[in-house]
Structures are given as C-alpha cells and as structure tokens.
C-alpha cells in the first residue's frame, strides 16, 4: 500500500537524522567499510578475470611440452629426441623449441627470448613486447646490446613491436632469429630448450604422454590440461597470502559490527523507550534499526564495488600490480577483459551487507520489546 512506502520513508528520515547526530563517526565508518569492500572486490575481480582470460588464451598452448630434467634442473633437450617422439601413434606434429631468459643489466629487467617456428625476425633484428619497449624506452630502429655466452656484445635492432593490447602474453618477449639466440645462449644446433608435441585427439593424449615418459625417462611431459589447471589455481583463495587478506577483511567487518552487536547503550535504550512511548510499535523500531544497518552497509558495498571495477578494469589494477611485481623491473600493464562472476558479486554482497545489518538489528530486539511504561520512570 502507498501507506507502507510512506511509512518506510518516514522511518528512514528519522534514521538518517539519527545517524547524522554522529556525522563524523558514521562517515568514518562508511569510509572504512567501503575500503574493505574495495579491497576484497578488487582482488576478486582481478583474480577471476586473469583466470578466465588465461584459460581462454592458453587453450591454444601446445598439447604437450616435453622438458628434460637432470638433477632436478631443467636442461636442454637433444634434438634427436624429436625422432623418438615422432612415430608415436597419435602425434601429428613435433618440433623443438628455442626459448630462454635474458637478464638485461642496463635496466635490471628479465626478458623472455623466443625463436618462433615461422616468421622469425631477420638475423640482427628483434621484435619486442611493449614491456621491453617501456623498460628500455625503445623506438623503432633502436639498438639493444646483448651479451653473448662467449662474452661478446651483440647489437640487435628493434625493428618491430608487439601491440600494447597483447601485453598479457607478449609484454616481456623478445623474438629473434635462431642464430642470434644460439649466440646469446651459447647453445649448439643439436640441442633445443624443449619439445612441443601436437596431438589431435584429446583422448589419446594420456597414452601419448605415458609413452613419451616411458621412452625418454629423463624427461617430463606437461600437458595443456595441466597448464590450464595451474592457472585455475593461481590466486587460489584457499592458499597463500590471499587467505590472510580474506581473514583481515573478515576481522575488519567483525570489528565494525562489534560496536553494534555488543548491545545498546543506556542512551539508545532510553531512546527506543521514548519511541515506543510516543506510539511506535516494536516493528517500527526494528525497521528503523534495519535501515540504520542498511544505509551504511548498502552504500559502502555499492561504492566499494564500483571503485573496485574502475580500479581493476580501467586503471589497470594499479594497487595490485606492484604486489605481483616484486623486485622485477618490467611490469606488464594489465588491460584485462572485464569478466565478472555475478555469483562472486552476490557472495560478496551477502558477506558484507547481511552480517552488519543483522548485527544492528539483533541487539535492538530485546530493547524494543519492552513495555513503553519503563520510560515513565
């Protein structure tokens, strides 16, 4: 009934007046609350979007990668192993891959060097990712010196660049020719970094992997499924310091709600008595308390959520990125596709709004069912 809506607004009016009596305290409360929601939502948005994008992109990774492990360390693999894999049933493509890392002492950054299967840059030139270009302030045509394994300096021209949009996969890449890579890494033509295997039928994958492991006992096979699983588990809520962030946020909410949940002071009790004495029912008082909780938690939730969205998807997660950066110099700019899990947003809502509102109403329950007569004394 129209009456009902007016009643809500009336009681809301009083609730707001009541909150404004302690204006600064309540504003501080909203501020802290929003901050906690912002933090939680940022982490939530970031990790979900990365996991989702990773699973989409890495679905194009090689079906199987074969690494050679010697004494627990990743070692170059003989090219001859390719022949021993080629004739396994189900395998339709095998190739040796050349890739590695390079530490650039000039800026202290780590690059990933990759020799592509086809379309490799001309000898003496490289194609670099946006992160590398940023770290070295490169423009087309600039030269970078690489130190070779033999101790010489090899100058390579940065002829082409990867787009900034593809930073998530290409930010630290340096594409170069096989000759240049071998000069820098000091490898020989009969050794490669690892072997990529293509298997068309996914159901044959397990068998192929077992056979490779059997034929080449000093190797380890990494399947695409495992790559995807790795990225599913990254930023896992159940592990790592993420649990501490979550626990910290929970603690913050509990502390915020404590003030309410620990019961009403005598002043508040008296006020409820007055309201009852002048004609408010128990349900009116509880409605007021409900709005008291809702005004703070609902506005904080919405504001925190919006700010988190801007932070992660428009501002490139500026506050989270340094955490991932660690000591490294080269940091990709995160231009994530805004994948949002509505279920997570709903969960965050219930986690933040409901406990606070409940903590506000429940202690008021006992005070609000007293006889109004008590206020006469």
């Amino acid at each position: 009934m129209a009456n009902g809506f007016d009643r809500q607004k009336n009681i809301l009016d009083f609730t707001l007046s009541s909150l404004l009596r302690r204006k600064w305290k309540n504003l501080a409360l909203v501020f802290v609350y929003t901050l906690v929601v912002f933090l939680l939502a940022s982490v939530m948005f970031f990790s979900y979007a990365i996991r989702r994008e990773a699973s989409l992109l890495l679905d194009n990774a090689p079906e199987a990668t074969v690494q050679r492990i010697l004494a627990g360390r990743h070692s170059p693999i003989p090219l001859a192993y390719v022949d021993r894999i080629k004739d396994i049933a189900g395998v339709h493509a095998v190739r040796g891959r050349l890739w590695g890392y390079y530490f650039d002492p000039v800026v202290g950054a780590n690059y990933t060097l990759v020799v592509p299967e086809s379309g490799a840059p001309e000898k003496g030139t490289i194609r670099v990712g946006a992160g590398v270009a940023r770290a070295r302030s490169l423009l087309a045509g600039d030269m970078i010196e690489f130190k070779t394994a033999a101790g010489d300096i090899l100058e390579l021209e940065a002829r082409a660049f990867f787009s900034a949009d593809s930073e998530l996969v290409s930010s630290d890449l340096v594409l170069l020719s096989a000759d240049d890579f071998l000069a820098i890494s000091g490898g020989t033509a009969d050794l490669v970094t690892d072997i990529a295997v293509g298997v068309r039928n996914p159901r044959e994958l397990a068998t192929v992997a077992e056979k490779i492991a059997a034929r080449l006992p000093d190797t380890r096979v990494i399947l695409r499924e495992e790559i995807l699983r790795t990225y599913d588990a990254v930023f896992n809520w159940r592990g790592g310091l993420l649990v501490i962030i979550l626990a910290g946020a929970m603690l913050a909410f509990i502390i915020l709600a404590w003030d309410k949940a620990s019961g009403l002071g005598p002043e508040e009790r008296r006020e409820i008595g007055i309201l009852k004495a002048i004609g408010w029912e128990t349900s009116d008082v509880l409605l007021m308390k409900f709005w008291e909780g809702m005004t703070v938690s609902l506005s904080s939730f919405l504001l925190g959520l919006l700010l988190a969205y801007f932070h992660v998807f428009t501002a490139g997660s500026g506050l989270l990125a340094p955490v991932l950066k660690g000591w490294s110099v080269l940091l990709p700019e995160f231009r994530l596709v805004p994948y949002i899990d509505a279920a997570q947003v709903a969960a965050l809502f219930f986690l933040t709004v409901v406990p606070y509102s409940v903590a506000t109403i429940i202690p008021a329950w006992r005070a609000s069912i007293v006889d109004p007569d008590s206020v006469m004394r």
Binding site: G72, S171, A209, I227, G326, V337
Partner: protein, 109 residues
C-alpha cells in the same frame, strides 16, 4: 530535499551505476574480442605456455613449466626469496615422470 529522498536518490544512482557496470563489462568483452583473438593467435603461433604475470623469477614467469624444485635450484635450502612467489605458485605436482593421472581443468562458461 527531504533526507530520505536524497539518500534514496544517491542509493538509486549507485545501484544504477552498478547495473551499468555489468552492461559496460559485457560491452567491453565484445569490444575486446579482436584483442583476445590476436593474443590467442600469438599463443598458438609462438607456442607459448604461460601468460606474463610477473618477470621476477623464472618460476613466476613460466609457472606451468616450473615444478616444486625450481624455486630451490639455486641451493637446496634456498627459501623463497622472490616476493611475487608468495602470490604466484607453480602448478600442482604434475608431469608424466611421476605417473600422475590427468585431472581435467575447470571449464569456464
């Protein structure tokens, strides 16, 4: 304006913006499809196995290629000394060297 009206207005605006947020997200998803396709192509052509989250250590840069011993390769007792390693952990123990069975990854909708 009456207090409850201004508050409800603000709340309405915020809620509306949140609704727009979802709309914006789905529009952006569509707009970024070409970027996604280009990156998928790069992954395919270059045979990449990892995305670039951190360039700090080799096991935070190529997490799927690392395993639990990689962090210790400098020295057997070497404790985790890269900050990003606390957030980015190498994949679950895997690889056909230890006879593990494949467990399928979660499919995202």
């Amino acid at each position: 304006m009456r207090r409850s009206h201004s508050f409800l207005l603000c709340l309405g605006v915020l809620a509306g913006l949140c609704g727009l947020m979802f709309v914006h997200a789905s529009l952006r998803q569509r707009a970024m499809k070409p970027t996604l396709l280009e990156q998928e192509r790069l992954v395919r052509e270059l045979g990449l196995t990892d995305i670039c989250l951190s360039t700090e250590a080799n096991y935070t840069r190529h997490l799927s290629q690392a395993d639990f011993t990689t962090a210790f390769q400098d020295h057997p007792l070497s404790l985790e000394h890269f900050p990003s390693g606390t957030w980015i952990r190498p994949g679950p123990r895997s690889g056909y060297g230890n006879g593990q069975r494949i467990r399928p990854a979660k499919k995202h909708p």
